[in-house]
């Protein structure tokens, strides 16, 4: 169509020229005739004193000058290009032919505390291509067919522009050997396509500790953007990411990204205009990221996950849904997390090389079990009876319910009048109980009285909440993971603002609220790790160490540790009345061995004395949430294990198997009694 247009334009020009000249000449009687009969012979050789020779001399000078000007211009430009700026063009020519290919560095491995790899690396073959390939539709289609990928997907990978035009773009990783061989054998059909060696994440233990280690993925556009927005100071010492880089997206992979990420290598190659490599030139090898050692002990981790499985199974066998659970095992002497499990789990290997959107949607669907969530740190639950030792300590500390006081439990508690009567979980009633036996038997009546006393106490009406906070509830623990929930310690101010659309009467703090939180119900929310930490505090006489997963970073030569995590105190709960701790500890100890024979049987086989507390939380419209938190040994506490089974029924039924399995792994003493026999429904 271009040629046609030119023809039309030129034709128009032609016609215009002819018509124009004819019109112009109309009636003119000039010398011009289209053909002269006299040939070249000048008709007026010497007419008017203006001979050809004379006039042409000047014209020839002009012509020569014109030609000279052309030569001068060319000369000047050539001089400036080839003599003055040739270095500049040399550099450009060099740049033309060289391409710096970055070679991705393997990420550091993630090991357990004994050096066993939880996350390892394995070699993988990747198909890579330069961006120019996008213009070659035929090759792209062919490549898409060979790789079994949609054409558009291949094209998008090639055109992805942030990886830098000079670097090859990864189109597919983990390509089958046969496909690789096909591409290599038919290299001429795939100009600009090459095979690169990559390392990919490998998970020798499958989904083990998946919520701890997290998963990797290609760096997102948002992350790249965030990186661009950093100023120079912040950028110093950090890794500059390119699109296509694999980075940690969750768990330890994310939190310790800077340790795990290696430094890209660079390889300079000579290429021709087609983008095909013609020669190698110089290389800086990639530097792998540091291996890191976690505080996790594979043996305990496996026990945590096995325990969750058993706990959920037990719950299901007695007819509860029990479809999700969490368990954490912390060394209370230093905050090291020895095991951390959340169920349901996921396969981190599904994220290698990019997770399919179907699977991603499945993992994140609204009405699903949300397996990507780490329930240990992100699950918010009513604490239920597990909070009772803290309530008891608050009563003693503030003097509103001292260790000498007792309550009489008749099953139906009417401390706030008959109209506001409440059941103790044991409807038959416990009889007379003090704080220590109240903890042991989880007697609600004792704690209703305690909560009521706080409500009517003039000096410390919120002493309960104060004590909960003193042990770290209501705030994040500072564990080295993201996505930790804060939990909630409700008080008058919170209720006032939370229900701001309600009438002032309805949102005023009342005695019922106090009695509710005293037994861990109502609006209180805790995470399993918060509760574990609170029990660390009880076991360690008020000292809580910040929970952490990183033990050390292994130095790059593999010898020794380059960096060791220094444990730090999270908080120290100061208590004026030291006997408060004793009451709580004894109560917990007695709960294990005295409250229920079937519970006691489970723990008697262990070589150490255990202290602990069950809990059974209520959520409207759902089955009971079963808790069990223990620490051991009782005399010299080291291990704190907290577990919860969502909608699993009584804690002594569904959560007991979890802690017992973990303790069994720690002390190499597995339970010999079927957990289904432990059906005493104690709260």
């Amino acid at each position: 169509m271009d040629a046609q247009l030119i023809v039309i334009i030129a034709g128009g020009l032609l016609v215009a020229a002819i018509i124009g000249s004819l019109v112009f000449l109309h009636g003119h009687n000039g010398r011009f005739t289209f053909d002269t009969k006299t040939g070249t012979r000048p008709r007026a050789l010497e007419g008017e004193g203006n001979t050809t020779a004379v006039s042409s001399k000047g014209r020839f000078k002009l012509l020569t000058a014109g030609v000279g000007a052309v030569f001068a211009a060319i000369f000047a430009k050539l001089w400036s290009m080839q003599m003055v700026s040739s270095d500049y063009y040399d550099k450009l020519a060099e740049q033309n032919q060289t391409r710096t290919v970055t070679t991705p560095a393997p990420r550091g491995r993630i090991l357990d505390r004994n050096g066993v790899a939880i996350v390892d690396n394995r070699p993988a073959l990747a198909v890579v291509a330069y961006r120019d390939l996008a213009e070659d539709t035929v090759t792209v289609r062919h490549l898409a067919n060979v790789l079994g990928m949609p054409y558009v997907a291949v094209l998008r990978k090639i055109q992805d522009n942030t990886e830098g035009a000079q670097s090859p773009h990864t189109i597919a990783t983990d390509v089958r050997r046969s496909t690789v061989a096909y591409i290599q054998e038919h290299q001429e059909q795939f100009p600009g396509v090459s095979i690169a060696e990559r390392t990919e994440r490998a998970y020798p233990y499958g989904s083990l500790a998946c919520h701890v280690v997290g998963y990797t993925g290609t760096v997102t556009q948002e992350q790249l953007k965030a990186q661009e927005e950093l100023d120079e100071d912040q950028k110093a010492g950090t890794i500059t990411y390119q699109s296509g880089d694999v980075v940690g997206q969750a768990g330890v992979e994310y939190y310790y990204e800077s340790l795990l990420q290696g430094i890209r290598g660079e390889q300079t190659v000579k290429v021709n205009a087609g983008g095909n490599v013609t020669a190698q030139a110089g290389a800086v090898p990639a530097e792998p990221g540091s291996d890191i050692r976690l505080t996790i002990d594979i043996k305990i981790q496996q026990a945590c996950e096995e325990g969750l499985r058993l706990g959920m199974e037990t719950a299901q066998r007695v007819g509860d849904p029990g479809n999700a659970a969490a368990c954490v095992c912390i060394d209370c002497t230093n905050g090291e997390i020895l095991g951390m499990a959340s169920a349901p789990a996921f396969e981190p290997s599904a994220f290698v090389g990019g997770i399919s959107s179907d699977l991603w949607n499945e993992l994140n669907k609204e009405d699903g079990d949300h397996p990507l969530i780490n329930r240990v740190i992100a699950g918010s639950y009513p604490s239920a009876s597990t909070i009772k030792p803290l309530s008891a300590m608050a009563g003693i500390e503030y003097g509103v319910y001292t260790a000498d006081m007792t309550s009489n439990c008749a099953g139906w508690w009417t401390g706030l009048g008959e109209a506001n009567g409440k059941w103790c979980w044991l409807h038959a009633g416990h009889g007379t109980r003090d704080l220590e036996t109240g903890i042991r038997d989880s007697c609600d009546a004792v704690f209703y009285d305690l909560g009521k006393n706080f409500y009517y106490d003039k000096e410390n009406p919120e002493g309960l909440q104060e004590m909960f906070r003193r042990f770290g509830l209501g705030s994040t623990t500072g564990v080295d993971l993201i996505g930790e929930a804060e939990g909630r310690v409700p008080d008058a101010a919170w209720k006032e603002s939370y229900f701001k659309d309600w009438s002032s009467d309805e949102r005023a703090w009342n005695a019922g609220d106090s009695t509710n939180i005293a037994i861990g119900q109502g609006d209180i929310l805790v995470t399993p790790i918060q509760m574990a930490l609170a029990y660390c505090g009880i076991a360690m006489n008020g000292v809580e160490w910040r929970p952490h997963l990183l033990l050390s970073a292994v130095s790059r030569d593999g010898e020794g540790d380059a960096y060791e995590f220094a444990p730090e105190k999270r908080l120290t709960a100061e208590l004026k009345h030291k006997d408060a701790l004793t009451v709580a500890q004894n109560g917990l100890h007695r709960m294990i061995y005295e409250e229920s024979s079937s519970v006691a049987r489970q723990f008697q086989s262990l070589p150490v004395q255990v202290a602990g507390k069950t809990g059974t939380g209520e959520k409207t419209g759902e089955s009971l949430y079963g808790w069990f938190i223990t620490y051991a040994p009782f005399e010299d506490p080291k291990y704190v294990i907290a577990s919860i089974v969502e909608q699993g029924g009584f804690g002594s039924v569904c959560a007991l198997p979890v802690v017992r399995t973990v303790l069994g792994a720690i002390y190499d003493c597995p339970s010999e009694i079927d957990f289904l026999d432990t059906t005493d429904q104690s709260r």
């Binding site: 032609l14 002269t36 006299t38 070249t40 050809t52 020839f60 030569f71 060319i74 050539l78 450009l92």
Partner: protein
């Protein structure tokens, strides 16, 4: 008869040695021979890395061209002066021959080629048309005896040039059209119009081109498709102004060419070491961008040698024209000077960013036989004019 001519006649009579010099303009011949050899050598180096650059085919073109040059040298062209109409008709036939059924030859997206029946050789008729246009314009210009007094006559002459120019554009070749235009313009200027008219014409031309460029984008925008200039032509003009504007599309060729020339430096990179041409970064390295190839391999020195050869060729031609007694033949020489100078300016200029990119060959150097043949013919014509001078007496 002028004094000058008498002297020359006497001189000729005195020495028999000058018989050769009388028949052959030696500097012109030397420059031509130098260019042919230089060109052949350059194409040979190109053939080492570029598959399309067939050295034997180029040698064949040179041989054929030399024969044609010899024939032209032995011919007398003064008779063409009175055949204006015939020349115009032939010119247009030649220009439009690629559209004739049976002649048209299209392959690999090339346009403007014909396949000569029976022989089966392909040829670019525009190259022949350049020469015919020169004769046509010279025959017109010669009718004024070296002085155009009437502005209407001048305008008419200019209008006559637009016919072959339009024809060349119609054939779809802007670059060659400009060559036709330039050689014709030189002939008109040498035909003796007043300087003011010429200056006015140049001013008008510049004005017209500017308006057209401005109108082009407006019209394209209004009508939604290319109206005056094709988009790639517009892009070429834009990148000519700013080569970095688009380094992958239209600007790529120019940028690669600049790099090739500039990185050649003083001595050049040597035979076969030209990475720009050899590794395929420089497109059309043996044809349109042959000067870039040559400059990369042989550097500033090589480029200067080439310019020196061209300077000798062109200046010698001007001298031949100057000495010729026939106004018609003078104008033919001037047209050839215009053609060579413009092709040099355009071909070299586009390689070094002085001119917008068009696809025309560098005379005697670029790969391709059509150009080689016709340029050799032009050389033969100039030699013939040299041989014929004085004979009209």
């Amino acid at each position: 008869m002028s004094q000058d001519s008498l002297k020359r006649v006497n001189k000729r009579m005195v020495s028999n040695k000058s018989t050769l010099r009388q028949n052959v303009n030696v500097p012109l011949f030397a420059a031509w021979a130098g260019l042919i050899l230089y060109g052949a050598f350059t194409i040979w180096t190109a053939s080492l890395t570029i598959a399309d650059a067939s050295f034997t085919r180029q040698l064949f073109g040179i041989a054929l061209g030399s024969v044609l040059a010899f024939i032209c040298w032995r011919s007398d062209f003064s008779g063409l002066a009175s055949m204006t109409t015939v020349l115009l008709v032939i010119d247009l036939i030649v220009l439009f021959s690629p559209y004739f059924p049976g002649l048209s030859y299209r392959a690999k997206g090339m346009t403007g080629w014909i396949k000569i029946p029976l022989i089966g050789l392909t040829f670019q008729p525009i190259e022949l048309a350049k020469l015919i246009t020169i004769f046509y314009m010279a025959s017109l210009g010669a009718q004024y005896n070296g002085r155009i007094d009437d502005v209407r006559e001048y305008v008419k002459l200019c209008g006559m040039l637009l016919i072959p120019f339009g024809g060349a554009l119609a054939a779809g070749d802007l670059g060659s059209g400009l060559v036709v235009f330039s050689s014709g313009a030189v002939i008109i200027m040498m035909s003796g119009p007043r300087k003011e008219w010429v200056l006015c014409t140049i001013a008008l031309l510049i004005g017209f081109v500017s308006i057209m460029l401005a109108a082009d984008s407006v019209l394209d925008g209004l009508l939604g498709h290319d109206v005056l200039l094709k988009e790639y032509q517009m892009n070429r003009l834009l990148v000519f102004i700013n080569p970095d504007a688009d380094t992958s599309g239209a600007g790529y060729n120019l940028k690669q060419s600049l790099i090739a020339v500039g990185s050649g430096g003083f001595f050049g990179k040597g035979i076969g070491n030209a990475s720009q041409a050899g590794e395929g970064f420089l497109p059309e390295a043996h044809t349109d961008f042959v000067f870039a190839l040559l400059s990369e391999e042989f550097g500033f020195l090589g480029a200067m040698l080439l310019l020196a050869l061209y300077a000798t060729l062109i200046i010698s031609t001007i001298r031949v024209a100057h000495r010729s007694d026939s106004l018609f033949l003078q104008l033919v020489c001037c047209g050839i000077v215009g053609m060579w100078t413009f092709q040099l300016l355009e071909e070299v200029g586009m390689c070094i960013g002085l001119m917008p990119i068009t696809g025309i060959p560098l005379p005697f150097i670029s790969f391709g036989s059509s150009s080689m043949l016709m340029q050799c013919a032009a050389f033969g014509i100039v030699q013939s004019i040299w041989r014929s001078h004085g004979k009209t007496l």
